[in-house]
Symmetry: C2
């Protein structure tokens, strides 16, 4: 167990932006909310999966919606608490630990807010090991945990509980609710006990976000190459492999809100000769293509980073003329099993590309 | 109290189609479901508002969706029971009486199914006095009753509970859920006690539906003019006024599903000379225009009837060439107050027409 203090949040937000792979919502907002919550309620206890009691009542949480909408319809930080209280009232369950349902962006920070508000410990793990655009794209679901009962809330205090027979149906229905709640809402889902959480979660992703932030901060201070440092560091983690996929200038962005997601294509033209890179987006970066070559595809992480600082640029902040590096990161083995690839491999996104783990897997 | 038997259902369905004013879903399906439920579980006790205990726990129920979808995605009859059980489980409330939330079409018959399945009494009243396309268009809402907590279910067993601060927000969110449940779902809402139900409901609308059916059956048997008989009868009820607005042949139908409703315009050309009648539809018939004249507008009932039998033709069954009469019926005083007109008068549908009660009010 260690305490998360306000000074930890800067690194976490920087790292969460990288793990967000373009999505997960802008962590800047999440950082401000988390700082305010810790200042009001005191530091948050971060516990590892190993430290978690087997009989703990864990619930996972986060916001859903289109990141382009989150930019203008900022969460107040209270929606998740309303969703949790509603879940507890309706089910009679008493939650004893909080876990992010995704690692990345806003959704690494909002669970810190909830942990501070409730005084409950925050589990250093999640169900995506990155950000994904859909609620069923969770290792929890891959390894047999039900997404529902699920509680949702918006900033006006509208509340909904959903029970469904499958996680993909929960996603479909919750997305409809989310759209009617203005395109962005907060939720708690995947209730489970501590023993189960140990079996089905991607471990240590909050610490990973913080470590990524530290690496980039040190590189800035010591004037080393931040992307090289980041790649070296990532190869020491359970993700195991990271590499440069390309670099260039953003020369085109198609981006719209469709069915409650930010979708589109970003084109990056190399600084030298050669064909442009095209990245397909559904909240997150799904695939990088160059001509007919697939350079990387989900579930591996595709991160668009500022060429000077290696800080991640979320999809909703991409602009013409930005100079970027494209980083690829292989996901840990728990996310590459045949069962996992069925839930969040290329075919789950309607992509025909075959998944080849970066670095040979 | 009287018992509803299978032989009562024919008249109820015929009358419910008239009160449906084009919407409420095809009562033919509802009649079959209600007959099956009474045959399996025994007759249903129909109680008047006066007979209802003041401390009764009443909940209202019905299906929502686009009637054109209901034609192909027929309710199984079990969705409403799932919604009721879910409501009771989540709230801890124990319901002791069932009331339709609208009078008309399928939604006059589905509450009979639920009453038969549960053995609970059915209250002879509703909150619309007709069919309306939106959940907030209820005398319950007009007179201060909250629409939520509200439970919804679809035929696959997906369940949702919604809590909102206003009935119009409940409608908006539930409509989103309904769309994601395939465009048609069942729900229970507006929980209230018996004393409240007496104050805020439109009385005796189940009996009214049955009486309308009887009048038309007798006219067929005695070979009198069914529409004249119906108008004479309706003038003796608390609705107080009905009149022929026109007649002719259906010569054009524009009809589509939009935002979860069946919407469109039907054109009826008079048998003789003169301009055509145009009826605007949002599930129900909202307004009849002829040139620049408004012949009738919500909340008054606009019913398109077969020219020979005076049986109502729901909007989803309108076809080119049908020979029809257009009947207008004034709503009872509880539905014409300034507060009521705010909730379901012309402006609530985006119509600029001013409401003038048929027959001078």
């Amino acid at each position: 167990m260690r305490l998360l203090q306000p000074e930890d949040l800067e690194d976490i937000a920087v790292g969460a932006a990288v793990l967000g792979t373009g999505g997960g919502g802008d962590p800047y907002i999440g950082k401000l909310l988390a700082r305010g919550a810790i200042q009001s309620h005191g530091p948050v206890r971060l516990v590892s999966l190993e430290e978690l009691q087997d009989d703990a009542r864990v619930i996972t949480c986060g916001a859903m919606g289109a990141p382009t909408i989150v930019l203008e319809k900022v969460p107040s930080g209270d929606e998740m608490l309303m969703a949790l209280r509603h879940y507890e009232e309706v089910t009679g369950d008493r939650v004893t630990a909080i876990m992010p349902f995704e690692a990345g962006g806003l959704n690494s920070c909002l669970p810190i807010v909830l942990a501070a508000q409730t005084g409950l410990p925050l589990v250093d793990a999640d169900g995506m090991g990155r950000a994904f655009p859909q609620l069923e794209m969770e290792t929890f679901n891959v390894y047999g945990i039900a997404a529902a009962p699920m509680a949702m809330a918006d900033e006006k205090g509208n509340l909904a509980m959903v029970r469904t027979r499958s996680a993909s149906r929960a996603e479909f229905i919750a997305r409809g609710l989310c759209i009617r709640m203005g395109g962005q809402a907060s939720l708690v889902n995947y209730p489970m006990d501590g023993a189960t959480a140990k079996r089905v979660s991607v471990p240590a992703t909050m610490s990973l976000a913080q470590d990524i932030g530290k690496v980039l901060r040190r590189a800035r201070k010591e004037k080393t190459d931040p992307l090289s440092d980041l790649i070296v560091f990532l190869r020491t983690t359970h993700y195991g492999h990271a590499e440069r996929l390309g670099s260039g200038k953003v020369t085109d962005i198609e981006r719209r809100v469709e069915n409650g997601w930010s979708v589109g294509i970003v084109t990056i033209s190399p600084f030298g000769e050669g064909m442009p890179y095209r990245i397909r987006i559904q909240n997150e970066n799904l695939v990088v293509e160059r001509g007919s070559d697939i350079l990387a595809v989900v579930p591996d992480l595709i991160c668009v980073l500022d060429v000077d600082t290696a800080e991640a640029i979320p999809t909703e902040r991409l602009r013409y003329g930005q100079r970027v590096e494209i980083l690829g990161v292989r996901v840990p083995p728990i996310m590459r099993s045949p069962a996992a690839l069925k839930v969040f491999g290329p075919a789950a996104f309607g992509l025909s590309a075959k998944y080849q783990p970066l670095g040979g897997g």
